[in-house]
């Protein structure tokens, strides 16, 4: 539950509820809320927990963490397919 997955910010847009955007986690792209990281820019790497970026991290570190989580089989658990609403 407290895992956070590193991903690369592809785009940022403003919505009524705050800033949102798309983040790439390896081959998967997900919508992420940027409300808690107002400083974020396209190309940054962020740690994402339950759909919210909670910190901006160094790119190299992010890649390393991603590989380890993938090897532990934890990415799927943290990034299930979005349920059709």
């Amino acid at each position: 539950m407290c895992l956070a997955i590193p991903g690369k910010v592809l785009e940022i847009e403003s919505s009524m509820g705050g800033r949102i955007g798309r983040v790439q986690f390896g081959g998967i792209v997900r919508q992420v809320q940027f409300t808690f990281v107002p400083e974020v820019r396209v190309g940054d790497f962020v740690m994402v927990h339950v759909g919210f970026a909670i910190s901006v991290v160094d790119a190299e570190e992010a890649e390393r963490t991603y590989q380890i989580l993938q090897s532990m089989g934890l990415l799927e658990a943290e990034l299930p397919p979005v349920e059709t609403l």
């Binding site: 539950m1 740690m47 759909g51 909670i54 390393r64």
Partner: protein, 365 residues
């Protein structure tokens, strides 16, 4: 060194292991708080790479495990109502309540949706105005800002069919409780890196000065945890007690200020019962009075029921680091991942699940 080959950072890991061995002169008992860290330790066999004298015990940092039985029963009761859609993180579905679990309710036709983000619960509420959408808001400080944001957003949108069943817990009061117990064995803590990403360092500095115990904020990778162990061993061997931050790439001194702000706007600190541990003063969050309209417990008039854990389950002791999963007579026999007796066998962060999954300790009873 069988597991070390699996590391991407094999060279760094080997150097860290060698350095820990060269610095260790006395036996030390260290506790990692977070269940995610427990899983990394078991997966990579880190405990077996350390010098014999270094014992790692596992802490209560598994939100699914510490969510009280009564709260599971409330979620089961809500999900059983024909007018309610219960929205939950996936880990909660198989956690046993006193009579049933959410997965069984779902199998019987209960409307339960598993989501990745709490904002999906808000979207479900918006799209289904004829139904009552209840979001099961659990988690530590890492998850609290996101869950708070969902409630905030529901209020902003004026949704009258969204509510939250809130069972949030916070880490420092649990560490304080463990340290205040007589005969405490733990001599150093690895603090949870993502909780601290949100909350910053100050609460842990207070614990260090209150109990004169070294604490290192640690990450979740094998190398992170080995480095955190090294930092703790060096402090303990030197007789010092400080807060150190190993997970600097994510944790800043003040933490994530916007995330703290939304938590404080939506939640207030309250006493909270922890499954297996009991009530800990000021150890949880509940909705502030101005968000009472979104409080599922008030909205549906849910009552406290006195319920008991299965007598055989020793999760209370496991969650406090006083026993390890293989010490339990039911472990791997009457309690398995397929048929769990207690929550630590269910959750992806539970200590029992970590031991069971990696099966490095023979199950002999």
């Amino acid at each position: 060194m069988k597991y070390i080959d699996e590391y991407r950072d094999r060279d760094i890991a080997q150097k860290l292991v060698a350095r820990i061995a060269s610095r260790t002169r006395h036996p030390w008992v260290l506790m990692e708080i977070c269940g995610g860290q427990t899983h990394t330790i078991m997966r990579y066999g880190l405990d077996e790479l350390l010098p014999r004298g270094i014992e790692l015990v596992h802490g209560p940092g598994c939100p699914v495990c510490v969510t009280p039985l009564e709260m599971i029963d409330k979620a089961v009761a809500l999900a059983s109502r024909p007018d309610v859609t219960l929205v939950s993180y996936g880990d909660m579905l198989r956690v046993p309540g006193s009579q049933s679990d959410l997965l069984r309710v779902k199998a019987r036709g209960g409307d339960i949706r598993v989501v990745y983000s709490p904002m999906e619960a808000v979207r479900i509420a918006k799209a289904n105005p004829q139904r009552q959408i209840v979001f099961f808001a659990i988690g530590f400080e890492t998850t609290a800002p996101a869950n708070a944001m969902a409630v905030w957003e529901a209020k902003r949108l004026g949704l009258s069919n969204f509510s939250a069943l809130v069972s949030h817990v916070i880490v420092p009061p649990a560490i304080r409780l463990l340290l205040a117990q007589p005969g405490v064995r733990v001599q150093g803590f690895i603090a949870p890196g993502h909780v601290c990403t949100v909350m910053g360092c100050s609460e842990y500095e207070e614990l260090v000065s209150e109990f004169h115990v070294p604490i290192v904020i640690g990450g979740f990778e094998p190398v992170d945890l080995l480095e955190a162990v090294l930092m703790l061993v060096e402090q303990l061997e030197n007789g010092s007690a400080e807060l150190q931050n190993q997970y600097v790439r994510s944790v800043s001194r003040s933490g994530n200020v916007p995330a703290q702000a939304i938590m404080q706007a939506v939640f207030e600190v309250c006493d909270r019962k922890w499954r297996g541990i009991g009530c800990i003063a000021q150890s949880g969050y509940r909705l502030r009075p101005e968000f009472a309209a979104f409080d599922a417990e008030q909205l549906f008039g849910l009552e406290e029921g006195g319920v008991e854990e299965p007598a055989e389950c020793i999760s209370a002791l496991v969650l406090q680091g006083r026993k390890k999963p293989p010490d339990c007579a039911a472990f791997g026999v009457r309690c398995t991942a397929e048929n769990p007796l207690g929550a630590p066998m269910v959750s992806a962060e539970g200590a029992c699940a970590a031991y069971y999954q990696y099966r490095r300790h023979a199950i002999v009873h």
